[in-house]
């Protein structure tokens, strides 16, 4: 629970990990655009994208199977669309939707597995995504674990007293609602305490940035090379 595999991966060291987050964002966006706009019925083109991604995974020194498995999270969603397309009498389109969603997820997993979240957020900030939104994401990410742990402890406490949040009985519903309320109140108190801790260290509404990333030759190469490859595959 205290461990996100993706988080560990993102802190590895490889050529891809060392690239500026903006370069990786550009490469990912180029690839996503190419995948998203590819017409159905071009399996060799989709295989080309897959090869490109596979090269990325290998350069980043990530476990191939692990990345594949994590990209599967989109399959349930893609599956629904696929089934709908199938029912509409377009089996070719159904397959394409599935494969394209999977490739897009793979792209995002590769991006997240080679870029720690703070760096990713800095990259987004320099592309004009509102800072406020990014700070919220950063804090959410930081405290997700803390709150999840709190919820876990509450469940253990309830279970050890013979309770539990089974939502079948009316009593179960009530206990569950009470737990959510408690969790909310605690999270609120915590947010206040965090804000105080920020003020105590001179916070005045501006979130400071420690290291403005430097865009080097390798970064330019990555974004150019990935965009060119994606475009070439798309237009071939």
């Amino acid at each position: 629970m205290r461990h996100l595999v993706l988080e560990d991966w993102s802190r590895k060291e490889s050529w891809l990990h060392a690239r500026d987050p903006r370069a990786k964002l550009m490469a990912a966006v180029a690839l996503l655009l190419a995948i998203g706009t590819s017409p159905a019925g071009s399996p060799s083109r989709l295989a080309g994208y897959a090869l490109l991604l596979l090269a990325g995974v290998i350069i980043a020194d990530l476990p191939v199977r692990g990345v594949w498995l994590r990209a599967c999270v989109v399959l349930p969603f893609a599956g629904v669309f696929g089934v709908l397309a199938w029912l509409a009498g377009e089996p070719g389109r159904a397959a394409a939707v599935g494969v394209k969603s999977y490739l897009s997820a793979w792209t995002l997993v590769l991006l997240a597995a080679t870029t720690p979240l703070p760096a990713l957020l800095r990259g987004l900030a320099s592309f004009g995504v509102p800072r406020f939104l990014l700070i919220v994401i950063q804090l959410l990410y930081r405290y997700l674990f803390v709150i999840a742990e709190q919820a876990h402890h509450m469940r253990l406490a309830a279970a050890s007293r013979g309770g539990g949040f089974r939502l079948r009985s009316r009593q179960g519903w009530r206990a569950g609602a009470g737990a959510v309320a408690t969790l909310f109140a605690r999270s609120h108190a915590r947010a206040e305490a965090i804000h105080r801790a920020m003020l105590a260290r001179g916070y005045r509404g501006e979130f400071p940035l420690a290291s403005p990333p430097r865009f080097g030759l390798g970064d330019a190469l990555l974004s150019l090379w990935a965009s060119a490859a994606a475009a070439a595959l798309r237009l071939a």
Binding site: R2, E7, R11, P116, L117, P118, Q138, L139, Y141, R142, F145, V146, R190, A193, I194, R196, A197, M198, L199, A200, R201, G202, Y203, R204, E206, P208, L209, A210, S211, P212
Partner: protein, 238 residues
């Protein structure tokens, strides 16, 4: 000698609740280390939050001669470093180094200097090797030291620590006591831990129901009030 912190007749209540601080008088002098003892709920944390203007009640609070009015808060917050009770609430940045650099950057240092100050503070607390770690990968003792680094990176003149031994195991406590004794700042240490109080402070004040009820040399005050953990040993089973 001018006191670093001077509090006179401080009263405070949360919203429309009962009075939590009921006339606190307190002074902290340069070079001093003072323990703040007292039962749970007696207002210790509330008092501490007044020392850098996070809360403002009625009465006088002066830090290095400056009253805690809004116009003085930036310089007061630079002078008074507060270590809060729960390090999870203090370590809000994604990595240890970024967290330690948060204060210096807010003080307006440029990034290289801020990072330098952060690295110095991490070295001081023995956390240099963990600079790249995310806070939730740290042990309780490491979290405490990382949070302390974030405070020290601002180079405060006064350290205020709210129950710093919470969550620490005995070696962790000893380590923290050693570290505090090496730091030159004047200190106010809120604690329930009598051993820790004796190891890190020379004078103590005892809080009860929102005011200072008694004070004296730390060891003597603890003895006088019986404010320690001593219990008769358990009887062996018959």
């Amino acid at each position: 000698m001018e006191p670093l912190i001077e509090v006179q007749g401080l009263h405070f209540r949360y919203d429309s609740g009962p009075e939590v601080l009921r006339g606190v008088n307190f002074r902290l002098f340069p070079g001093e280390s003072v323990a703040l003892l007292g039962p749970n709920g007696s207002g210790k944390t509330t008092f501490v939050l007044h020392l850098n203007g996070l809360l403002r009640g009625e009465g006088l609070v002066r830090v290095c001669g400056l009253p805690t009015r809004p116009e003085h808060l930036p310089s007061i917050r630079r002078k008074v470093g507060i270590l809060f009770q729960d390090p999870d609430e203090q370590l809000f940045m994604p990595t240890v180094l970024e967290d330690a650099a948060f204060g210096p950057l807010n003080l307006g240092l440029d990034p290289p200097r801020a990072l330098h100050a952060a690295q110095e503070a991490l070295a001081l607390t023995g956390m240099s090797a963990a600079w790249h770690k995310a806070p939730y990968h740290l042990s309780a003792g490491e979290k405490r030291r990382a949070a302390l680094a974030g405070v020290l990176a601002m180079r405060p003149e006064i350290l205020v620590l709210d129950e710093p031994t919470t969550y620490l195991d005995p070696p962790g406590r000893r380590e923290l006591a050693d570290l505090l004794r090496r730091l030159p700042q004047a200190k106010l240490v809120v604690t329930h831990d009598a051993t820790f109080a004796c190891a890190t402070t020379t004078r103590a004040v005892f809080f009860r129901e929102g005011r200072i009820e008694s004070e004296g040399p730390t060891a003597e005050l603890i003895r006088r009030l019986g404010w320690d953990e001593r219990l008769p040993p358990a009887e062996p089973a018959p």
